[in-house]
């Protein structure tokens, strides 16, 4: 059918074309799906492990999914249930008397029938499990960590820095995109250059500057907040690109109508640049929420000022069991991920980056 279609055309050719089209779409979607599943597989591990019990993690025969060993209450105790092979097929039995060479079982369906003898080592038997989700890992975490304090500290650093960095970056981007400043090109070149400067170069002198000898900011939120109040080079760059793409006719009209520069910025530029402003705001939110370098340098002396990621570093040394640790990983990423999903309609939607040099 396929062979003849190419020459004869008509119905058959259209059919094969559609078939080809469908196969192509299916392959693309399938490929992306497989890639996504493998890309996020460590997260699946985290989600599954966080709801397991610690018994399951120490049990080598336990299944991958969260499950508890099935037990049967008999004669005053819980007894584990096993798959027991007999000559006439496998039976599901509860272990009553374990011995090395043979063991006595009982049928959970019919406990009155009395014990059943099975020869062999019960340790080789496969246990019976049932699906079960444990949320006590989260309650454990909640009890051992003061989340209220951590959230409050993180929120202070994030919120103050966010407002400061947005206002400053918007002002500077507006200045660079709409005004003829002498030496503006050189200053913009400097701005791009600061994006490239690695943090470690400024680390030594700024640490000395913040220390007790000069400013005395160690042990306070100031080193985490104050630098943000002057804007960030990369955000200024992104916002300026966006502001420049907005036609100038409107703000010139507003200027002629007597609007000052501030008024023009607030009522003409910002409404049009909203997606870019939201994007920059979100980028800073994620950065500030996860920020660890400054926090670990300047807040280590103050237990009461610790932020979320900084105290999370200590989780590893608290001696939490693996499943509680995985639960803590969920808690750590929860807020940024929720914010990302809530804001996904705006996030980086209009990020068309053109030249870096101009």
């Amino acid at each position: 059918m396929k062979r003849s279609s190419s020459r004869r055309g008509g119905y058959e050719s259209r059919l094969s074309l559609r078939l080809w089209d469908f196969t192509g779409s299916a392959l693309v979607n399938l490929f992306i799906l497989i890639f996504l599943v493998s890309y996020l597989s460590p997260l699946t591990y985290m989600l599954v492990t966080a709801v397991k019990s610690s018994d399951q993690l120490s049990d080598a025969g336990a299944p991958i999914l969260p499950a508890d060993a099935t037990t049967f209450f008999y004669d005053g105790r819980e007894r584990r249930v096993y798959h027991v092979p007999f000559e006439d097929g496998e039976r599901v039995l509860a272990l009553v008397e374990p011995h090395t060479a043979y063991s006595m079982f009982i049928d959970p369906q019919d406990p009155q029938a009395g014990p059943i003898r099975w020869d062999g080592s019960y340790r080789r038997l496969e246990g019976v499990y049932h699906f079960s989700v444990h949320l006590e890992n989260f309650t454990n975490l909640w009890e051992s960590i003061d989340y209220g304090l951590l959230l409050k500290n993180t929120m202070i650093v994030v919120a103050v820095g966010e407002v400061g960095i947005l206002v400053a970056s918007i002002f500077v981007a507006y200045g660079f995109s709409r005004f003829r400043v002498p030496g503006g090109k050189f200053l913009f070149f400097l701005l791009i250059a600061t994006i490239m400067i690695p943090d470690s170069i400024t680390l030594v002198p700024t640490f000395f500057m913040y220390s007790k000898k000069i400013l005395g900011w160690t042990g306070s939120f100031l080193p985490l907040i104050v630098p943000n109040l002057f804007g960030s080079a990369i955000y200024i760059f992104l916002l300026r690109q966006n502001f420049k793409s907005i036609p100038r006719d409107l703000d010139e009209a507003a200027m002629i109508d007597g609007a000052g520069p501030m008024r023009t910025l607030v009522s003409i530029i910002l409404p049009q640049a909203l997606p870019a402003v939201v994007t920059v705001g979100l980028l800073h939110f994620f950065n500030a929420w996860n920020e660890l370098r400054m926090a670990s340098l300047y807040l280590s002396t103050r237990q009461d000022l610790r932020t979320m990621p900084f105290s999370a570093q200590a989780f590893i040394t608290y001696g939490f069991t693996p499943e509680v640790l995985q639960a803590s990983a969920i808690v750590l990423m929860l807020i940024p991920v929720v914010v990302l999903f809530l804001a996904q309609r705006f996030f980086m939607q209009d990020m068309v980056v053109t030249g870096m040099e101009k």
Binding site: L190, L191, N290, R293, I316, L332
Partner: protein, 314 residues
Amino acid sequence: MLVRRKKPSTYPAAEARPRHRSLAGYSARIGFLFILPWLIGFVLFKAVPILAALGFSFMEFDMLEPEKAHFIGLQNYATFLKDTNAGASLFGSIEVFLLAVPLQMFVALALAAIFASDRLKGKPILRTLFFMPSIIPAIAIFIILSGLTYPGSGWLTRLILDPLGLPPMSFGSLFLPVLSLWSIGPSFLIMLGAIQAVPKEIYEAARVDGAGPLNRFASITLPMVSPAIFFSLVINMISAFGGVALLDRGLPYSQSLSPMEGYIVYNMFSLQDLGYASALAWVMFLVVMAMTLLLFRSARYWVHFPEEEANEEI
């Protein structure tokens, strides 16, 4: 275009503003006021610290006894040349850049190219799901990967390596690749934005001329999105050298992708040797600047910057 007004008095609202000698001067002053915050920040938190670091690098400077600091000339740099640990850390950083960045760029570009296809369904949610790992805090990744590679209950050994008969993989060998692949979010979205901005007519014209999909990608998509590729290359390079570009997931210095950065911090906080740490930082600064310059120079040959400056006014 700002037009010089001859009679400002005919505009009553303009009268309210203070008089200036010229509109250009007024524009310059207002513009300068707007960029002033960044300028102050630049001087206080970039320029002064960088110069101070240069000064410190010529001194013997113990953090515990700053009063005893004294000038020792190029001695710190001479120590650097003899310090094999410093050399190893520097090359480690360069190695990370050379290994991780091409991988990130390739995956991000391939993903963006597939996402540009009309065949893919559910793009908004997929886009967010692929971006999501880029905002996971580093500590969470650390916890997840240590669990995943744990010999007994970790899935990596149990589900993949054991059935295939492969030896167990350590946390250390997995951390860097996963971290790199989980950081492609911004590059991916920037490249996707660029690919989607390419006018459809160009592809149609090429299709009519008989260009296949691969040919269209190589001769239309790649040149058209080269500015976005360049931008992502720059931001990935900055992260590889321990800077913060677009997204920071809060890696502690000691576990940073850049071994050089870790070594600088070790010298600074464990050995309290500010002088030597500053010298190391300056060496790293020079290396990064040299690579940046090279990258920007090379851009002339492969990046097609759009000709937008023709009607540029500023």
